[in-house]
């Protein structure tokens, strides 16, 4: 029976598309491996399994390095008219990919009711970065949010309830003050809280700005609101953590050393990606907790990570193959297993209803904190000429955090720079 169906589908394909479809269609799939070994094995496994179930297709994963390198490679290949059929790229690259005319929306492929339902089953927060002009350009796959890790031992030492993380900004400050420990000569032995600000501070800042009720960019990617009063207040709060309350290290804090600082006991609370969960679980010599970021006027965190894109210049048959692969990859069971194996957030609520993920979460509750936070999550900052606009904000944030500019001045300058860059796209 199964054979008959596959024969029939092959026949149908050959009639509809061309005789070439009878042969295997190769679907090249660029995948960013910034993490290393284990993930490549998982993806290789997926490709092999999919190819076995779909004899007319052959998915070939290409590991292209970091997100940055992968998008460069994909765009270069696109310009040379030899694009991959599909790729996982940063969801924030969507505008860049559209501006380069490199991708096609998924709406082109969605035909059946089942497929329409599939499109609606993702967490809405994860679709935000991929939906522009009422079209869905990217399907979420490897996604994360910012969460808060806290050191239960330090909480105990400071006389705090080790099982309760700060719930709002006030508690963050008051608990942070109790958690900050100084030696006799005033040197800090442990900071209350640490939020990294090197490399891509805008992403962590979106935690503060969202909690303060601000949205940084419009959904068309043509306007930003860096000098919005709520944004400036949010930045002022981040600056105050170190300059006014003295519970946060001064200057720019390295992203790379923040998990190490936490595990060394040098910071009692850190904000970082959910993707760090496995690492910290393995290496922290004390009990720790994971919580949603605290709220101010609301809760909030940006989403992060990569979407699945289909390339425009790939032949029709390859695009169709890529679409089938995308559907296959995001099935609830597979998304659940992916989340368990990697620590990334599973992309649909249905995945959290699977037995595998339910029992995993029962065993290790921190695994679902990121999911619980999703209803409060907003799109990661993304605009046209994204890298430049983001740099303008990053520079402004670092200027304020290092005391070179006031938050107000820093955001005013960042806004002016962003306006200059975005003028061409309005």
């Amino acid at each position: 029976m199964k054979k008959l169906v596959s024969l029939a589908s092959t026949l149908a394909a050959s009639l509809c598309v061309s005789t070439a479809a009878l042969a295997q269609t190769e679907v090249s799939f660029y995948f960013p491996v910034a993490v290393g070994g284990p993930v490549t094995k998982i993806i290789d496994g997926y490709a092999a399994e999919f190819n076995k179930e779909n004899p007319d297709l052959k998915v070939v994963p290409v590991y292209a390095g970091s997100y940055q390198e992968t998008v460069v490679k994909a765009l270069t290949a696109h310009k040379a008219n030899k694009p991959p059929a599909a790729a996982i790229l940063l969801s924030t690259d969507t505008f860049t990919l559209i501006d380069e005319d490199a991708i096609v929306p998924f709406d082109n492929f969605v035909k059946t009711d089942e497929e329409r339902k599939w499109m609606k089953d993702f967490f809405p927060a994860f679709l935000l970065n991929g939906q522009i002009d009422n079209k869905t350009w990217g399907i979420p796959f490897q996604r994360s949010t910012v969460v808060m890790y806290w050191n239960k031992q330090a909480f105990k030492e400071a006389g705090l309830d080790p099982n309760t993380a700060p719930q709002n900004w006030e508690q963050l400050v008051s608990m942070g003050q109790k958690l900050t420990k100084r030696d006799a000569s005033g040197n800090v032995e442990r900071w209350g809280i640490q939020v990294p600000s090197s490399g891509f501070p805008y992403w962590l800042f979106q935690g503060f700005s969202t909690q303060n009720g601000a949205i940084l960019a419009n959904s068309e990617g043509t306007q930003v609101a860096f000098d919005d009063l709520k944004v400036i207040e949010a930045l002022q709060f981040w600056v105050d953590l170190s300059q006014k309350y003295k519970i946060h290290p001064p200057g720019v804090v390295q992203w790379g050393t923040t998990p190490a600082d936490f595990m060394q006991g040098k910071s009692a609370i850190i904000w970082t990606t959910t993707g760090n969960l496995t690492n910290i679980r393995k290496n922290a010599p004390f009990e720790f907790g994971v919580a949603m970021l605290p709220e101010n006027v609301r809760r909030g965190s940006p989403t992060g990570g990569g979407n699945f894109f289909i390339f425009k210049k790939a032949p029709e048959a390859e695009q169709q193959g890529a679409f089938r692969f995308a559907k296959w990859l995001t099935q609830p069971e597979r998304a659940a297993q992916w989340s368990i194996d990697t620590g990334y957030v599973a992309v649909s609520p249905a995945a959290y209803e699977t037995q595998a993920l339910k029992s995993y979460a029962a065993d290790f509750p921190p695994a679902v904190v990121a999911r619980d936070q999703l209803p409060f999550a907003v799109a990661e900052l993304s605009t046209h000429d994204n890298q430049r606009v983001t740099k303008a904000l990053n520079d402004g944030l670092q200027a304020a955090l290092t005391g070179a500019k006031t938050p107000q001045q820093a955001m005013k300058d960042a806004q002016a720079e962003a306006n200059r860059i975005l003028r061409a796209y309005r």
């Binding site: 992968t70 490679k73 690492n279």
Partner: protein, 281 residues
């Protein structure tokens, strides 16, 4: 310093470092190898000792095993070795021919061409990354080892060094070979090249260590594991989302520099002498 220098003057005072000099020299030396010492410490001890120092810390090779499996290092090693030897072989061949022409031929425009060649000593290919990247992509060579090596195939430095050496080859030797009916290329092969061996060795060491460590241009050109040399591989590996794990990164660092490091420790004299020779004009 001055008081001492003017009063105590034994006969050998100008060739012997005084106690102050010796102390200064040692302090500096230790400061200079401190990064390597730390790398050895962190790489050979478990992660909890990466930032604290204790004599009782147990030794381990786990970090090397973890690093080796965390990224495709065998492939990176292979890429770097192919790249470095390939560049060197082509450099030696092309630059020998060019140096020979500059050393022993008189031709119209030789001075102009020589000056044009020297421009590369100033303007290294990495300064021109933007344009050179376009050249590579129009040749379809982006993301290939060949493309990474291409801009370095002709080395002004090699041509310059070899030309100086070839110029010192006695004319009589060349004439004697000509009398025996040797062709130009035979003379080059049997007279010039053997006599220039120390220069070849010197340039080879300089070239190998430069390209083993080269980063910016390979970073721009390579996109996949198949073409990525060790330096870029290490950078991709150490900029992971999960932050820095010093035990594993120091292990990876030692691994990637081990061949050069071991080569350097064994052939220290030749290394230093080669660089010295390369530096003397």
């Amino acid at each position: 310093m001055t008081a001492r220098a003017y009063t105590a003057k034994p006969a050998s005072s100008l060739t012997e470092a005084g106690w102050l000099g010796t102390l200064g020299a040692w302090v500096l030396a230790i400061a200079w190898i401190l990064p390597l010492l730390y790398a050895l410490w962190a790489a050979f001890h478990p992660a909890e000792y990466a930032t604290t120092f204790s004599w009782s810390a147990p030794l381990t090779l786990d970090n090397f095993v973890a690093a080796w499996h965390a990224a495709p290092f065998p492939r990176y090693f292979l890429n770097t070795i192919i790249l470095v030897t390939g560049i060197l072989a082509i450099q030696l061949f092309l630059c020998t021919l060019a140096a020979y022409a500059f050393a022993r031929y008189e031709f119209a425009g030789s001075n102009v061409l020589f000056s044009l060649m020297l421009v590369q000593l100033m303007v290294m290919p990495e300064i021109l990354i933007v344009r050179n990247y376009q050249t590579l992509s129009s040749l379809g060579l982006v993301d290939t080892l060949f493309g990474i090596g291409l801009p370095y195939f002709a080395s002004a430095f090699a041509i310059f060094l070899l030309r100086q050496t070839f110029k010192t080859v006695p004319k009589e030797l060349v004439e004697a070979a000509q009398m025996e009916g040797a062709s130009t290329l035979q003379i080059l092969r049997h007279v010039y090249i053997p006599l220039a061996k120390p220069t070849y060795l010197a340039f080879s060491l300089v070239s190998v260590s430069h390209h083993w460590n080269n980063f910016l241009w390979p970073l721009v050109v390579s996109n996949s594991v198949e073409s990525r040399p060790l330096t870029v591989g290490l950078q991709v590996f150490s900029s992971a989302d999960q932050g820095i794990d010093w035990s594993i990164i120091t292990a990876a660092t030692l691994m990637t520099s081990a061949p050069l490091l071991i080569g350097f420790l064994i052939f220290q004299k030749q290394f230093v002498q080669s660089f010295m020779r390369a530096g003397i004009k």
